[in-house]
């Protein structure tokens, strides 16, 4: 029986049927929760506003790839303009949030860089005197991290001295390629940390996942079915275990009773009709923008400031990881269109706090190929690539040919992810005038890159330029902070022990509504500086296991 047949069979609950759990969102965290709840015999319905991915739509293997992917597979929903997404008001933010609605979630368009948070990420208050410690530790989460890696099919090499000892990865690391070797050479010349990339891309056949063939188009959907996304890693198993998945189902409200307990959700179905899904427990897995948006939309007469928001913290403390990139060109050929794209090498040299640098916390670097000729030209057809004071002629004519000759096949990109400290002024609110295709208020992002991040990025860019030049770079191009870089949406329903200062407890349960949970990165007290998907899925697994173990003690309506 195919996944599609299973998915379509009786997905929607019968009229007025109450299920044990309804989950909003079929991305990384929602998929983990659905699989493990279903395996435990708990009835679960997942509502996903997007659709199943059609791998034939991924253009990576076709000549028109660079033309099509910059629209159809753009990570910014405002550019993609797909009615399954909701638009985002970005008029008040320095960084655009990036996301994708569909089975597999925003990971459909991620680079698959697979990194654990480090021990200090869970203890930033104790160690560095900023933000808050997490309610649990690196060691508490590690068993779940390793279990998720086996479910996802991660490739990598154990033994990295930037981490405490851990077990082997499920699959050998992907080939490093000339790009990774050149990136590593620069780090080695400087005597700095580097390590072969760990990626959520199996190097060998694994379940529904094919082995990576280094197509290099991870960021725009993998046509090989090799990049691990939960439509392939988790959903085939979840459906067989009995989970039900309803696509094109946009949740507009969480319903509660007079006792303040959740009773289910109202969603708009594919035909534009409102439907009710009753449930004993509601879990939100709609990302750091979608989850607070839904809570703010669910404020009724009893909760005019939004559901689960007695602390006033829903939507606040948004963190998006200010990001810089350094493109370096070399005389030697690097075959720099070949994958894996996400990270052939990473570095945690500047991850930990060193106060002499003038900022707290740190960064993670990942070394990536620079891609096809259109992308490296710097022209890319958009006016935004022409500086306000610049001339378009700088990117065209003979300059176009010379730029492409120097960069195409000869360049790499170091991406620099900086830890983003939480600030209440950085937040998600409801737009007063922008709405989605169902007329629901769009989220508005209010976000400024703070001074700590500006200093952090400048320091790291300077170090990165030293590294690439040590390896022989003949040209460098810096972009900072990259506006289209809000991949990591974190912190908007913060977890903590104090209901006056946090939205959920350490298990994701809302202080105000004990049968309403959040299991995406909204709950993270701090952002770390690594790509968060591994931690998102591990925290979701930890929460789900707790929910299963405590099911008889769960307070329900």
């Amino acid at each position: 029986m195919t996944v599609e047949v299973l998915a379509e069979r009786g997905a929607r609950a019968r009229r007025d049927e109450e299920v044990d759990v309804v989950i909003v969102g079929a991305g990384p965290s929602g998929s983990v929760a659905a699989l493990h709840l279903a395996r435990a015999g708990i009835s679960v319905v997942v509502l996903e506003q997007g659709e199943w991915p059609d791998y034939a739509d991924y253009t990576g293997a076709r000549p028109e790839h660079e033309l099509v992917s910059t629209k159809l597979w753009h990570p910014n929903p405002n550019v993609r303009d797909n009615p399954n997404d909701y638009p985002v008001d970005t008029s008040t933010t320095d960084i655009n949030p990036l996301m994708f609605a569909g089975v597999g979630g925003s990971a459909t368009l991620y680079g698959a860089q697979w990194m654990h948070f480090l021990p200090s990420d869970f203890r930033v208050r104790s160690m560095d005197g900023v933000a808050e410690d997490w309610p649990f530790t690196y060691e508490d989460l590690l068993p779940y991290q390793l279990e998720i890696e086996r479910e996802v099919g991660v490739s990598g090499l154990a033994g990295d001295p930037a981490y405490p000892p851990r077990g082997a990865y499920p699959f050998p690391a992907l080939p490093m390629g000339s790009v990774g070797q050149r990136g590593a050479l620069g780090m080695e010349k400087m005597g700095w940390h580097w390590w072969p990339g760990s990626n959520a891309i199996p190097s060998e056949k694994f379940g529904e996942l094919n082995p990576c063939v280094r197509r290099g188009t991870c960021l725009t959907g993998c046509p090989e079915g090799a990049k691990s996304t939960t439509d392939r890693s988790h959903w085939p198993l979840a459906l067989k275990a009995g989970a039900r998945l309803v696509t094109r189902a946009r949740v507009k409200e969480i319903e509660t009773n007079e006792q303040g307990l959740a009773t289910g959700v109202i969603y708009v179905d594919a035909n534009g009709r409102d439907r009710r899904q009753r449930a004993k427990v509601v879990i939100l897995c709609a990302n750091g923008v979608g989850t607070p948006r839904l809570l703010l939309m669910s404020g009724g007469p009893r909760t005019p400031d939004g559901l689960a928001n007695s602390s006033g913290m829903v939507g606040k403390r948004l963190m998006m990881h200010p990001f810089a990139s350094v493109l370096a060109s070399y005389q030697d050929p690097l075959d720099s269109w070949r994958g894996p794209f996400g990270q052939q090498v990473y570095s945690l040299e500047f991850y930990e706090t060193d106060e002499s640098r003038g900022f707290v916390r740190g960064s993670k670097w990942n070394c990536m190929p620079s891609g096809g000729p259109v992308g490296v030209s710097g022209a890319t057809g958009s006016k935004v690539y022409v500086a306000e004071s610049g001339r378009f002629q700088d990117f065209w004519g003979a300059n176009l040919h010379e730029n492409v000759a120097r960069r195409f096949g000869h360049s790499l990109i170091w991406g620099i992810v900086g830890e983003d400290l939480p600030e209440e002024s950085n937040q998600v609110v409801l737009s007063k005038d922008l709405v989605d295709s169902d007329g629901l208020p769009a989220p508005q992002i209010v976000y400024k890159v703070n001074e700590n991040s500006n200093r952090l990025l400048k320091f790291n860019i300077d170090r990165c330029l030293e590294s690439v030049r040590a390896a022989g770079a003949i040209e460098t191009l810096v972009s900072t902070p990259v506006r289209e870089s809000g991949w990591h949406l974190i912190g908007t329903t913060v977890m903590g022990d104090d209901p006056k200062r946090s939205v959920v407890d350490q298990w994701g349960a809302c202080h105000d509504v004990p049968n309403l949970y959040v299991m995406d990165a909204s709950t993270f007290p701090t952002s770390g500086a690594t790509n968060p998907t591994a931690t998102i899925m591990a925290v979701a697994l930890r929460n789900t296991r707790r929910m299963i173990a405590e099911r008889r003690n769960q307070k329900v309506a």
């Binding site: 033309l67 040299e349 378009f392």
Partner: protein
């Protein structure tokens, strides 16, 4: 001036012959341009405005005007020009681009960083993380 001639004049200014590289119209016809537009129907309105600018003006002046006054049209013209050009098999051959190709490999092959000592130096430099027991 026909649509075809109007666009090819702009495209040849943007992508002229240079060294071994041919100009746009040497390797791409208007049928290729229309095929690209079919992939990106969102660009068609801007493209139409871009090629409708007064043909009496030279290509550079027309592009300058579009860049200042109609960014969407400038973006449409330049996106279609560059993408169509680098889809050309002749151009790809000249720059050595096989496309985003499939590159089989042996997942169990020993990687060079394990045998040339480079990764060993990273390990030899010792622990990087800060332990947090008791915190």
């Amino acid at each position: 001036m026909s649509n075809e001639n109007a666009f090819l004049a702009l495209a040849d200014f943007l992508i002229p012959a240079h060294g071994k590289m041919p100009k746009f119209s040497d390797v791409c016809g208007y049928a290729d341009v229309e095929k690209s537009l079919d992939f990106r129907i969102d660009l068609k309105p801007g493209f139409a405005r871009g090629i409708a600018v007064d043909p009496a003006t030279g290509a550079e002046a027309r592009l300058e005007s579009l860049n200042k006054e109609d960014g969407e049209a400038f973006s449409a013209i330049t996106t279609i020009a560059i993408a169509t050009y680098y889809m050309s098999p002749r151009v790809r051959e000249l720059i050595g681009y096989p496309g985003q190709e499939n590159v089989p490999y042996d997942s169990k092959a020993t990687q060079i960083y394990l045998t040339n000592g480079s990764l060993g130096q990273v390990v030899a430099r010792g622990r990087k993380y800060r332990p947090t027991p008791g915190l």
